[in-house]
């Protein structure tokens, strides 16, 4: 029975990263202690992380600890998704569409979300960013992208 879910899940994450590091590093040359190859340090670190992960998982069955607590799933998903969506459409659609998308999708994560102020804010921030970043600082992004014939 898992008595400390935090220890258990962090342990699993550490085991995942540690063992991936060791496995992937097997493709690189190990070298010797005198002349370390590209695999040497990552393998040591991977082993260390794997060990920490294993200890953490074992400990989770022995030493009790607090529960996981509430996760802000809605916020986590909407914030991450809004940023990824922005990244994938900003070149095609241009900032005039991608920015409002980012703002509206992420703002929807708040419990106090309301359409009117959000739309107003999206419009204002987009105009500000276009003027400052695209026109002013010359960041190479189109206002209207090629997908829309811009």
């Amino acid at each position: 029975m898992i008595r400390n879910p935090k220890d258990f899940w962090t342990g699993l994450i550490y085991i995942f990263f540690g063992s991936s590091a060791i496995l992937i590093a097997r493709d690189y040359s190990m070298g010797t202690a005198v002349k370390m190859g590209p695999a040497y340090f990552p393998t040591i670190l991977g082993g260390l992380l794997l060990a920490i992960g294993v200890i953490s998982v074992i400990r989770s069955f022995v030493v009790p600890g607090p529960g996981l607590g509430a996760f802000a799933i809605k916020g986590l998903v909407l914030v991450t998704v809004s940023v990824v969506v922005f990244g994938s459409v900003v070149r095609g659609l241009g900032v005039a569409i991608a920015l409002p998308l980012l703002i509206i999708v992420s703002a929807y994560g708040s419990t106090r979300f309301r359409w009117r102020p959000t739309l107003l804010m999206a419009a204002g921030l987009t105009i500000f960013c276009v003027l400052v970043f695209v026109k002013g600082l010359g960041i190479p992004l189109r206002i209207i992208g090629p997908w829309l014939g811009g």
Partner: protein, 502 residues
């Protein structure tokens, strides 16, 4: 008198019109973003870093340092006015600062914070000027083994000062070191952990990681419990403290400065430890100790002085040894590398104008803070009142465009999102992002020093304990690690954090 000629050189650099302007701009932007809820100094600096990349190195670092004190001061302002510390170091300021504000004495509280910070900043600036060069001279004798051990000490210290489980903090450090190794191996040219992705050949940018873990991660954390923020005072009158307030402030500021300066030098601590220690000491020695927690001006002045002193003296290990002691100085190291400056003891001798210019600009930056905050306090109050639901989409927009502008690739945007999610999940599971960011930046450096040390010792791993300085550093690291395991100290560690959270 050498000190004076050095300071004169610094003054010459720092007082150029461009540097003064960027220092002012940094302090202004730092305070403005620092008063915004949910944005600590690390996120603020990460957000504004791309802006400084276009500037010459000295100017960029001066501006960054300005952003740092600005955001820290902004954090103190929100602690006093809305009971919400912008960052860990100003947590204790809320205890008495917010009480004072409730009693209509927000003005004197803000003034105590500003005066304490300015005095501490002045003293700490002189400390850096006095101790920097001899320390750097000593560090010039360091070989790769010493540098490796020094980094181990720095990472161990960040682990010891992290909240929560020791095991998780060590895990976060190792994970950070590993993630730092992604990219092309300098010695063999092998692409490590890149999965054939071209954009990963140079590794993941530290700004991307910092913005993800501190910027996005913090937003997601804040969305979890959206709280009502109420400013107790919308109009602040009587900013200037009374004569009696001044009298009560003097000793706490002096004590806070000493404690903060001393603790700030320790790797890994920065200003957090100092402000906690200063508050608890003041609570024991003050004549008005009964008033503590109910709005004692001493309880604002001492930690604020300590926090600023520590923020400044944490630049000593950064500038002389090239070892960052907290996430903020880790970002500064990253910025220096971007500008082609290898942080370390040679900076003083090879770039004296940069070193001394930065030190003098720290003092000027502190002066700007005091001057700037009197007329602008009304504006900060209005900024604090921006509801969070309108704020965070804007922060996201700036983070996203900022991270894109680094290399003009969408790839960094995806990675920022990934680190935001990872940072949130790990922090929910009890892994703190600060030690990980430190390790992320130190990863490639550590590997390099390990390689060189082993090459020089012909593969003898005992070299790290055979060389006296290296052995001492490792012994200190071991001692620090053991101290957490000893019940008495680990209890005080817990209490300090509990007091902070209260």
């Amino acid at each position: 008198m050498e000190l004076l000629s050095h300071l004169a050189l610094g003054l010459q650099t720092a007082a150029s019109l461009a540097n003064l302007l960027y220092c002012l701009l940094g302090v202004f932007l730092g305070t403005a973003i620092g008063v915004l809820p949910g944005l600590g100094p690390t996120a603020t600096i990460a957000m504004l870093l791309p802006v400084t990349f276009v500037l010459p190195p000295v100017t960029a670092l001066i501006m960054l340092a300005g952003i740092y004190y600005g955001s820290q001061y902004g954090g103190s302002t929100t602690s006093i006015l809305v009971n919400l510390p912008g960052e860990a170091a100003s947590v204790v300021t809320t205890l008495d600062g917010y009480q004072m504000a409730k009693q209509g004495r927000a003005g004197p509280a803000l003034a105590a914070s500003a005066i304490g910070s300015f005095f501490a900043g002045t003293v700490a600036t002189f400390l850096i000027a006095a101790f920097g060069p001899p320390l750097a001279a000593a560090a010039l004798k360091f070989g790769p083994a010493e540098f490796f051990s020094l980094m181990v000490l720095g990472l161990v210290a960040s682990v010891v000062l992290a909240q929560g489980s020791l095991l998780h903090a060590i895990g976060m450090v190792v994970l950070g070191l590993l993630l730092g190794l992604i990219g092309t191996d300098v010695n063999s040219g092998t692409q490590r952990f890149t999965f054939g992705i071209y954009d990963l050949a140079d590794g993941i940018g530290f700004v991307t990681v910092a913005m993800g873990m501190f910027g996005l991660g913090e937003i997601i954390r804040n969305l979890q419990d959206e709280e009502e923020r109420s400013v107790v005072v919308t109009k602040i009158t009587g900013l200037w403290p009374k004569k009696e307030d001044f009298k009560r402030m003097v000793a706490p500021i002096l004590r806070g400065t000493v404690i903060g300066s001393a603790l700030g030098i320790l790797p890994g601590s920065g200003s957090i430890l100092g402000s906690f220690a200063a508050y608890s000491i003041e609570k024991k020695v003050s004549r008005n100790r009964a008033q503590f927690g109910k709005g004692a001006i001493e309880g604002v002045a001492a930690p604020e002085a300590a926090n600023n002193a520590g923020a400044q003296t944490s630049f000593i290990p950064l500038l002389t040894l090239g070892i960052p002691s907290n996430p903020v100085s880790a970002l500064m190291v990253g910025a220096m590398i971007v500008h082609g400056i290898q942080p370390g003891p040679s900076v003083i001798t090879e770039q004296p104008a940069l070193f001394w210019g930065m030190i003098v600009s720290m003092w000027i930056g502190n002066l700007f803070l005091v001057i700037l905050n009197y007329p602008l306090i009304g504006m900060w109050v209005r900024m604090i009142m921006i509801p969070y639901q309108f704020l965070y989409p804007g922060i996201l927009v700036f983070c996203t465009i900022g991270v894109f502008s680094l290399k003009n690739t969408e790839f960094d945007i995806y990675f920022m999102a990934l680190f935001g999610a990872l940072g949130y999940v790990l922090s929910k599971l009890g892994g703190e992002p600060a030690p990980m960011l430190l390790a992320f930046i130190l990863g490639p450096l550590m590997e390099e020093y390990l390689r060189r040390a082993m090459l020089l010792s012909r593969g003898n791993p005992w070299v790290f304990v055979q060389r006296p300085i290296s052995a001492t550093l490792l012994a200190l690291a071991a001692l620090a690690m053991c101290s957490v395991l000893i019940p008495v100290f680990s209890k005080t560690r817990k209490e300090a954090f509990v007091e902070g959270a209260a």
